[in-house]
């Protein structure tokens, strides 16, 4: 199944990103559930997402994982259902990588810009 090194890395990244996003989903259900404790509690929780610098980096990592997993997942599906797909699995891997990086640019700008003193938009 893994023709060459790209295929192996594609699979390792897919596995690691899938596990990571699932772990986040568990945490995320709890942070969302805190909304039941009212605005005071929930606003304190959500403010962590933008006020703590480390959280901005964590979210960037999370979004990178979601994007990669999505685009590589699409690559896997294309390889499975398009008879010639396997011949292009390496090109498709670079395609998935390129889409991930492209989609990360606006996210990175809004999420990490303020960390480096760039005024992106008012909160």
């Amino acid at each position: 199944m893994y023709r060459g090194r790209e295929g192996m890395w594609a699979w390792i990244f897919h596995r690691v990103s899938g596990i990571g996003v699932l772990l986040f989903l568990f945490i995320h259900i709890v942070d969302t559930a805190l909304i039941g404790w009212g605005p005071g509690v929930y606003n304190a929780v959500t403010s962590i997402y933008h006020e703590w610098t480390i959280f901005r980096f964590l979210q960037f990592t999370l979004i990178a994982a979601v994007l990669y997993h999505s685009f590589n997942g699409l690559r896997v599906i294309v390889i499975d259902f398009w008879p010639k797909g396997y011949k292009y699995q390496r090109q498709l891997f670079y395609g998935a990588m390129a889409l991930t990086v492209l989609a990360l640019i606006p996210t990175g700008y809004f999420l990490l810009g303020p960390v480096f003193g760039i005024e992106t938009r008012q909160g």
């Binding site: 899938g18 596990i19 996003v21 039941g36 959500t46 979210q59 979004i63 979601v66």
Partner: protein, 127 residues
């Protein structure tokens, strides 16, 4: 060997074939739902404005509750199914594997119920 071949060789049942299809179907749906969700809370809305009022406004519309419920059910089932394969690959001892599956499925059940309850029952209080 593809996942499906590996699966059929391993279990010799239809279950792994269904699982294989389920990854792909839920994957395509999640492509829109999960990326859409992240797009809404990070690009359309500045993350600085994602707070109680934001959620209260969204959850006033049944559409977004349905959206989140679908996202929850699909991401959880797809992710847990994936985690099942991961545990299968790395835990060779059968009793420990059964134990790990039990922990995984129990956690999935508890968190899905919690998540679904929040989406269905949330009633905003004035700030």
């Amino acid at each position: 060997m593809s996942l499906a071949e590996r699966a059929v060789a391993r279990r010799g049942t239809n279950f792994e074939l269904w699982s294989w299809y389920y990854f792909r179907i839920s994957g395509v749906l999640l492509l829109f739902l999960a990326l859409g969700h992240v797009y809404i809370v990070h690009i359309l809305t500045p993350i600085e404005q994602v707070n109680y009022a934001f959620v209260a406004a969204r959850y006033a519309k049944p559409f977004w509750r349905t959206y989140d419920l679908l996202l929850l059910l699909l991401a959880m089932s797809h992710g847990v199914n994936g985690m099942r394969l991961v545990l299968h690959d790395y835990i060779r001892s059968r009793p420990w594997r059964v134990f790990a599956y039990s922990v995984l499925y129990s956690a999935a059940l508890i968190f899905t119920v919690l998540g679904a309850l929040v989406i269905v029952t949330f009633q905003p209080v004035p700030e």
